[in-house]
């Protein structure tokens, strides 16, 4: 099975290890992974800020990048939801409607791809520690991926899983919101960090780098010992 990796700009620049782990997991399950080198960002920062018309150029670029791909898989619920969202955005556009539809149909978030497409619920990895999981907003509510990441995580040998209280609440990232409304965002991430600490977990796991960067940044500011890791990292820890 051929899979094109959609790294997302965030993971590309900030946490390249997440990309590496994603590639290795996919290869472990027999996927042939390629990396279309001209990919950039899904366009969310500008689209969510109201710059729809300008952002269409970015979206068209991304559609061209993945035109030939059989599957597109990315380690982010939010960015994958955005790529899939092109379908609604270009509905009625004679030139791009079909293309957007095709991209939406073949694009998956990592855990979604593993569980729904490859049918894998246990990746056979080992990770020792008490972990909690933040189910990010776009992953769960826009993309509709709720069970897959938790199922994968709970099946990792050695993982002591604790539920995150009020996990469904937003961490306060919200793209430009974190900068534009930084005071409100600060209150929100503080609350999230408090809930994480409450669980007494050693690791906070998530499927969206942006949320993890936000929560991790707050935990770091507080000098917390909780380590923040992307799901891919845990799934790629083999004996």
């Amino acid at each position: 099975m051929k899979v094109s990796l959609f790294i997302t700009c965030m993971a590309d620049i900030m946490t390249s290890n997440v990309g590496k782990d994603t590639v290795e997991i996919l290869e472990r399950f027999g996927c042939e992974v390629d990396f279309p080198d001209t990919q950039t960002c899904c366009g969310q920062p500008a689209y969510n800020s109201g710059y729809l018309e300008n952002t269409k150029a970015t979206m068209k670029h991304m559609m061209k990048v993945f035109r030939e791909s059989e599957y597109v898989v990315g380690p982010s619920g939010s960015c994958v939801a955005m790529l899939r969202g092109y379908e609604a955005i270009f509905r009625g556009d004679p030139e791009w409607e079909e293309e957007a539809k095709k991209l939406a149909a073949k694009t998956f978030e990592l855990s979604q791809f593993l569980v729904d497409v490859l049918g894998i619920v246990d990746v056979g990895s080992t990770f020792k520690g008490k972990v909690t999981y933040h189910p990010s907003c776009h992953m769960t509510r826009i993309l509709g991926v709720k069970a897959a990441p938790v199922q994968l995580l709970q099946n990792v040998e050695g993982v002591d899983f604790v539920e995150l209280p009020h996990g469904e609440d937003c961490c306060g990232f919200g793209g430009t919101f974190a900068v534009k409304n930084s005071v409100i965002s600060g209150q929100m991430v503080q609350e999230k960090a408090d809930h994480v600490v409450e669980t007494e977990a050693e690791y906070l796991v998530g499927g969206d780098m942006a949320c993890l960067l936000n929560i991790g940044g707050r935990l770091s500011r507080e000098g917390s010992y909780v380590k923040v890791v992307h799901l891919a990292e845990i799934l790629n820890t083999v004996k």
Binding site: I13, G19, S49, G50, T55, T58, C137, K180, G186, R221
Partner: protein, 474 residues
């Protein structure tokens, strides 16, 4: 007072909210209660998604045929001896109501809870005309005594705790008992009962008007709407023009959605339907009944991409799940309609100019969209508001420059690659131990609240490239 409340500056209002620990504690615990109860009640009903679809369908059908149903409603109210007045604006509504009150020599007016009368500023208009106006919903009464404004559309005094309420009762009404809800409630009941018995006019809102019969319905837990419509001789009900259902059958569905979504109850203690005036042989009900149907910007929303915002049945489920609301409180929105629905509705009713921060007062987490019982795509409408403000050239210049830069960056892979490679080096002066605690430019606001990690030593793409080369050489 009308739709706008509080300090004109959003930043000031937010700061006031964030610093008000009493308020934030009350809000957080109320949200927790409502959310828990709502979850249980919807679970118990079963097939919640089907109920939501039905609710959406009913609201959408009604709005598509709103002129027909308004005509039907108006005809049926008239047949039952009532008067109908269509008010295009807040002023028209207030003038009409003042006229009625004056003609009936209405010295004392009792009111049941109504957001639309808050929206049009009715109390102020009536008081200026010389009437005494008494709010009889417990929350509204507390606010009225306190000179405060609602912070929530279902539980308007949500931002106050029982100690504060006790203090208000003590200061304004000489209350000398405890802060228990029972004693506070009993006191309010006794005080308000006197007003009910001596009022000349009863003014109510209207949860839904039923077109097929000309009835107005009220959903309350205190029974005050029932007293306000049965004791005074004159009843005036005020409704937004969208708050209409075709028949009792649709009312059944919407009330089922409303009470569960709002307070997690199967039914509220009182659900009242009043049709027309007192007929011969009846012992109660008003001699005179007026239905004031308020447009005030609503018809402008019909037929636009925001039409579904008029689906709203004012349950406040979106407010109760909103994390932004939880951290700033209702008053910070600067509108009597706070939270996600307020951020959507307020700019539509009152223009963007005074509310340009509202569409941005959301992380687009979509918790609101998820709970809305009539499926308003709230977070998508917030994005649409942002788009319109960009189209109207209302976005800050710095943002426009940044976004244009973003589009160039994300459509030119060479520039993207180069800048992503340089990110780590560029941030080096601010980086210490792989961490940035006081970043430059746009990072400044970020690091004011939290740390920012140093970008990876190697970008993913250069790793992948090297790996490919390595594989080839193997």
């Amino acid at each position: 007072m009308g739709i706008r409340i509080g300090d004109p500056s959003f930043e000031t209002r937010v700061q006031e909210g964030i610093e008000n620990d009493f308020m934030l504690n009350s809000v957080a615990s109320a949200q927790g209660r409502f959310r828990g109860r709502r979850g249980v009640a919807t679970e118990e009903l079963g097939n919640w998604e089907d109920w939501r679809s039905l609710g959406e369908e009913i609201r959408s059908h009604t709005l598509e045929n709103i002129d027909y149903y308004l005509q039907q409603l108006s005809d049926n109210v008239s047949k039952r001896g009532g008067h109908v007045f269509f008010a295009a604006t807040a002023d028209e509504a207030n003038e009409y109501i003042k006229e009625v009150v004056k003609r009936k020599n209405g010295k004392k007016v009792v009111k049941s809870k109504s957001m639309v009368t808050e929206e049009i500023g009715l109390n102020k208009a009536l008081e200026e005309a010389g009437s005494e106006v008494i709010e009889t919903d417990l929350g509204e009464w507390i606010l009225q005594l306190d000179g405060d404004v609602p912070s929530h559309i279902v539980t308007p005094a949500l931002h106050l705790n029982r100690d504060q309420i006790k203090e208000t009762f003590a200061n304004k009404r000489g209350y000398d008992k405890s802060n228990t809800p029972e004693e506070l409630g009993l006191f309010a009941r006794e005080e308000l009962r006197k007003d009910f018995l001596t009022a000349d006019i009863g003014i109510t809102g209207c949860n839904f008007a039923v077109a097929e019969s000309g009835a107005v319905t009220f959903v309350t837990n205190e029974g005050n709407a029932r007293l306000a419509t049965t004791l005074p001789d004159t009843q005036i009900s005020v409704m937004g023009l969208e708050r209409i259902v075709p028949t009792w059958e649709e009312l059944d569905v919407l009330v089922s959605l409303l009470t569960r979504s709002a307070v997690g109850q199967k039914l509220t203690s009182y659900i009242t339907g009043i049709t027309g005036t007192r007929l011969a042989g009846e012992i109660d009900g008003p001699e005179e009944f007026h239905l004031v149907i308020v447009d005030n910007g609503r018809s402008e929303i019909l037929g636009t991409e925001f039409q579904s915002a008029l689906h709203c049945i004012r349950c406040a489920a979106c407010i109760n799940v909103c994390p932004v609301y939880r951290h700033i409180g209702g008053h910070a929105y600067g509108s009597i309609y706070p939270g996600p629905i307020g951020a959507v509705l307020t700019p539509l009713l009152d223009g963007y100019e005074n509310h340009k921060e509202l569409p941005h007062a959301s992380t687009l987490c979509a918790a609101c969209t998820d709970v809305c019982p009539v499926k308003i795509p709230l977070h998508e409408q917030l994005i649409r508001h942002r788009e319109i403000m960009v189209e109207k050239n209302m976005a800050p210049t710095a943002e426009k420059i940044a976004m244009n830069g973003f589009v160039k960056w994300s459509t030119h892979p060479a520039a993207y690659k180069l800048s992503s490679k340089l990110a780590r080096t560029a941030l080096k002066p601010w980086t210490k131990d792989e961490n940035i605690t006081n970043g430059p430019g746009p990072l400044k606001n970020w690091t004011a609240q939290r740390d920012f990690p140093a970008p990876s030593q190697q970008t993913f793409r250069s790793w992948f490239k090297e790996r490919q080369k390595g594989e080839k050489s193997k």
